[in-house]
């Protein structure tokens, strides 16, 4: 299998006044097409920094980053913007969808910055993306009329709408309860089955069990890269959770 993402000796140093903070101290990793990777680690271990660099939101201090055959380090700001637009779908912990803007307009947003798509196609693609996350009935809802899980699903639809080569999720379940988290994981597993590559940061071990493999960060370095032995199926887990809840309620 060919590597979709290849990073080598990635270093990131933040300067807080006079103090240098070494967020990443030489990270190397290959991610294949069709992979479903969960990045774990305590806070401050560098996993979010790594994610931002993978998502082309930030640039590394040194090291190499090849994404889908292009050398990201040589790109300027505008080229990086185009890269984010076409190749990456980014999902945030705090959803980051525009307030006072309907679900479908939020999903259409990345397509607005893609000149080759006209208004009709844009609406169609956005609707299909919302349908794939099960929100086809709420397309004109505003973010404040949606629950946290629904808002995150709008964000996922937005990440999907441009057919990215990789979906990156930075703690996508961090602000959600376990039931909603499982629903989001169900969507991720479904997307992965259809061939999407997913990179996800999480600090919840049970969420990481839904991925194919786990990478563990500590102090800016990868300390473990292992396959998940007993991969959980989100649909089944969700069913179990609902049954448990009903039992508790009936007792």
């Amino acid at each position: 299998m060919s590597s979709l993402i290849a990073v080598k000796d990635l270093v990131k140093i933040y300067y807080m006044g006079d103090v240098e903070v070494h967020a990443l101290r030489g990270v190397s990793l290959n991610i294949n097409k069709g992979a479903y990777l969960a990045i774990m680690g305590a806070s401050g271990s560098g996993k979010s920094t790594f994610m931002n660099i993978l998502g082309c939101l930030d640039l590394a201090t040194s090291g190499e980053y090849m994404l889908d055959g292009v050398n990201v380090n040589t790109y300027n700001k505008n080229e990086l913007a185009a890269l984010r637009n076409k190749k990456i779908g980014f999902i945030f912990q705090s959803f980051n969808i525009l307030p006072r803007t309907s679900a479908i307009e939020n999903v259409e947003l990345p397509l607005l910055y893609n000149a080759v798509i006209n208004a009709k196609e844009r609406r169609e693609k956005a609707f299909n993306a919302l349908k794939s996350v099960g929100l086809e009935n709420r397309i004109y809802s505003l973010p404040n009329q949606l629950s946290g899980g629904q808002q995150q699903r709008v964000a996922i639809a937005r990440a999907l709408v441009n057919d990215p080569v990789v979906i990156m999720a930075d703690e996508p379940t961090g602000n959600l309860d376990s039931k909603t988290s499982y629903e989001i994981m169900e969507i991720f597993q479904h997307l992965n089955c259809q061939g999407s590559t997913i990179v996800m940061v999480t600090h919840e071990p049970d969420i990481a069990q839904f991925a194919q493999s786990n990478v563990i960060f500590r102090d800016g370095k990868i300390i473990a890269d292992q396959l998940v032995e007993h991969k959980k199926n989100a649909t089944e887990e969700l069913k179990k959770l609902i049954e448990n809840t009903q039992e508790i309620v009936s007792q």
Partner: protein, 382 residues
């Protein structure tokens, strides 16, 4: 948007009120007759002894019409004949100054009628025996509060019908009673009373105060040519203007101009700061939105374009509402405050362009700053 509306409206209202006051003051000063130009006959000169202004009779009625025709900085020119005469009404008599001039004399001297009418051009052509009298004349001949209209008085034994009463003016700055006067058509006084071709003076009014000195310079050669004076001869006439009053007028108008300019710049400054704050705050609080747009693939230029269009839109709409509101406020002040206003195109343009420029700049600047951030920094902005 509110900042722009209030900024534009306040500038327009302040300028309208200021400009109105300036024009009001200008008008009151003009009514003193500051734009009057007086031409008197020259000095009698025999063997080097000169007899003082008015000692020769050189002015003719034609001079007035030539000046009116050839000098376009004056709008009214009248010939004046004047003589102290004995007036008889019933058993009373009184000596006063009788002035003969065209009806335009009332306009030049800013004389108003409190009862009756002034004489017409037809009266002038037929040398009608009609006259307009001052209040002092009426009081002395007929008693206080009498109605003189329609009564007949005798001036040098010639009967004149009174057709108008002058509005009371009181004394002038030299203690002369301005109401002690009788004014009659030029032809009547000249032909019927005095049988003379010589004028006592010619009165002209310049179009505006600023034109007085230019008009004076124009009149001089016209008069010389009309009198066929060789270049070596002295002028056989003197031109006088009310220079001291004109000077006061000039300095008051200068003070008003400075006052207006400072009002305008202060209100522009205050309005500008209001607009600046609102635009700065509203764009800065959208830094997160800019971060989101950058994160999903917007280029810096895309974000800039969006915010430029938004601030232009807000500035233009706010400016238009502000102009409307400013005109409305000015008119309210005019109606309920009884204050004169004058809304000028330049004040509208000035306030609108300034506000739009401030609004667009302070919409553009924070957007520029935010869109040049790393997307991740813009997203973290609180």
């Amino acid at each position: 948007m509110l900042g722009i509306i209030i900024g534009v409206a306040s500038v327009i209202a302040m300028l309208a009120i200021g400009q109105g006051s300036k024009e009001n003051i200008k008008q009151s000063i003009s009514s003193l007759g500051t734009n009057t130009i007086m031409i008197f006959p020259g000095a009698f000169n025999q063997a080097g002894v000169r007899m003082g202004a008015g000692s020769v009779s050189t002015l003719k009625e034609e001079d007035a019409s030539i000046i009116l025709k050839r000098c376009d900085l004056v709008n009214h020119v009248v010939p004046v004949v004047q003589r102290m005469s004995q007036i008889i009404y019933g058993a009373q008599n009184w000596r006063t100054s009788v002035v003969g001039s065209y009806a335009d004399y009332f306009i030049i001297r800013d004389l108003k009628i409190s009862a009756g009418n002034i004489y017409t051009d037809a009266d002038e052509r037929s040398a009608a025996k009609v006259c307009v009298v001052g209040q002092t004349v009426v009081t002395n001949l007929m008693g206080d509060g009498a109605d003189p209209i329609g009564k007949t008085i005798r001036i040098n034994s010639i009967p004149f019908r009174i057709i108008g009463l002058l509005e009371k003016k009181g004394q002038n700055s030299f203690g002369q009673d301005q109401d002690d006067i009788i004014i009659a058509p030029f032809a009547t006084v000249q032909k019927r009373m005095l049988q003379t071709l010589n004028l006592n003076s010619i009165y002209a009014s310049a179009i505006s105060e600023e034109d007085i000195s230019a008009a004076t310079k124009l009149i001089k050669p016209i008069m010389r040519e009309s009198h066929k004076l060789p270049p070596t001869d002295e002028d056989d006439f003197t031109i006088r203007t009310q220079e001291d009053i004109a000077n006061i007028f000039g300095s008051i108008s200068q003070v008003m101009t400075i006052l207006l300019a400072s009002i305008a710049s202060i209100s522009l400054l205050v309005g500008g700061i209001g607009i600046m704050n609102i635009m700065l705050v509203s764009v800065t609080e959208r830094t997160r939105e800019i971060g989101i747009r950058l994160a999903i693939g917007a280029k810096g230029s895309d974000v800039m374009l969006q915010f430029m269009i938004e601030s232009i839109f807000i500035s233009v709409i706010g400016g238009i509402i502000g102009i409307t509101l400013g005109i409305l406020i000015s008119n309210l002040v005019a109606r309920f405050g009884g204050w004169p206003i004058s809304i000028t195109i330049s004040s509208i343009l000035l306030s609108f362009l300034f506000s739009a420029a401030v609004g667009i700049f302070f919409g553009w600047y924070p957007a520029k700053k935010a869109s040049s951030l790393n997307p991740i920094d813009a997203l973290r902005y609180e």
